[in-house]
Symmetry: C2
């Protein structure tokens, strides 16, 4: 009968929630390591052994969380995309669209200089296919693209952005700046602070090399 059952001091709901939190925390640590390695050496040069070593768990345990190296990398890409969306949400949309676009470019460069921006997979990498069939990634990318696209056309309408450029060219240019090797080059020169580097690249991006 029911009266024979012992009193349970730790209810199952909080307990499962705690376990889930632990689970998510562990996965977050994994994704962080992947993200860092992806930024440092790219998908091909990154090994699953390195990831496991950096997280401090056995490689086999990794595969309980993610079923392949591509899955691992895709999770990191999804997180970056979500970070981007969160940043877009944090912006004051009352500002002029050009200012918003500039803030976005600035943010991507900060992320890159922090060593947290995964470099793009080359055109026919196995990661490309995995990303293309990863709904959270594709959805996130589309969402970001639509929001930026709206600001781009708005900035072209208000006359601050060059209206001769197709919006898609502007969008791709901003994406490319997020992984621009110029940042690493200038950082490697040791001549400038991160802030100076970002200012210079923002200037070349929005104002161009020619004198104004």
């Amino acid at each position: 009968m029911a009266s024979a059952e012992p009193i349970v001091l730790t209810p199952t709901v909080p307990k499962r929630s705690f376990r889930e939190q632990m689970h998510l925390a562990r996965e977050d640590a994994i994704v962080s390591a992947v993200n860092r390695l992806l930024a440092e050496k790219g998908f091909e040069a990154m090994t699953v052994d390195e990831v496991a070593a950096e997280v401090g768990i056995a490689k086999a345990s990794l595969y309980k969380h993610f079923s392949s190296k591509e899955d691992l990398a895709a999770a990191a890409m999804v997180r970056v995309m979500n970070r981007a969306l969160a940043f877009l949400d944090s912006l004051d949309t009352e500002q002029p669209p050009l200012v918003l676009l500039r803030r976005v470019a600035e943010w991507t460069m900060e992320v890159q200089l922090a060593g947290e921006m995964p470099s793009l997979p080359s055109e026919n990498s196995s990661l490309r296919a995995a990303l293309a069939s990863c709904k959270p990634y594709v959805d996130g990318l589309m969402e970001v693209s639509e929001r930026l696209g709206a600001w781009i056309t708005a900035a072209q309408t208000d006359g601050s952005l060059n209206p001769a450029l197709p919006p898609i060219a502007v969008l791709y240019t901003l994406y490319a700046r997020a992984c621009d090797p110029v940042l690493g080059f200038l950082k490697g020169s040791g001549l400038y602070t991160d802030a100076q580097i970002i200012e210079m690249v923002l200037s070349t991006c929005f104002d161009g090399l020619k004198k104004r």
Copy 2:
């Protein structure tokens, strides 16, 4: 005695020259394949087996010409550098320095769209070390940098290039445009011709995204 020696109908000098030509032709074919694969998938994803297959020779034969994968890639990088130097030599230096710089950027983009521009090795790739200790490459890179550097300062002096930018930032920006993923993005969209793509990226590079 000497009178007993047979008459040699094929002198050794032309024969060795012919053999050397064959040798160089073979090596050129190898370097071409490496160059193409390097442009297509990067150093890490390129395999020596692929190179051998593309050239149509056995892998072991490759290693008679080049002692390692890094050597193979370095040879391709050296050739690109020499192509760049040859292009610089072909320019009419009577033109304004800004025009010269624009022509250089245009040329690098043409090479990239032709699938012949090797992508940059990531910061701590094994290729980096190999290149750093490859004198022909380092010398070529320095020569190119010095020539471009002279044009950059000249263009800043004559007021056509933004004088607020450190010349090294301009130089690195031009190098980065040579491997700009925007070209591949736009090409992949299928919306524009190669000439249109180059024109757009040249515009964003020199004129910036903002309206002038």
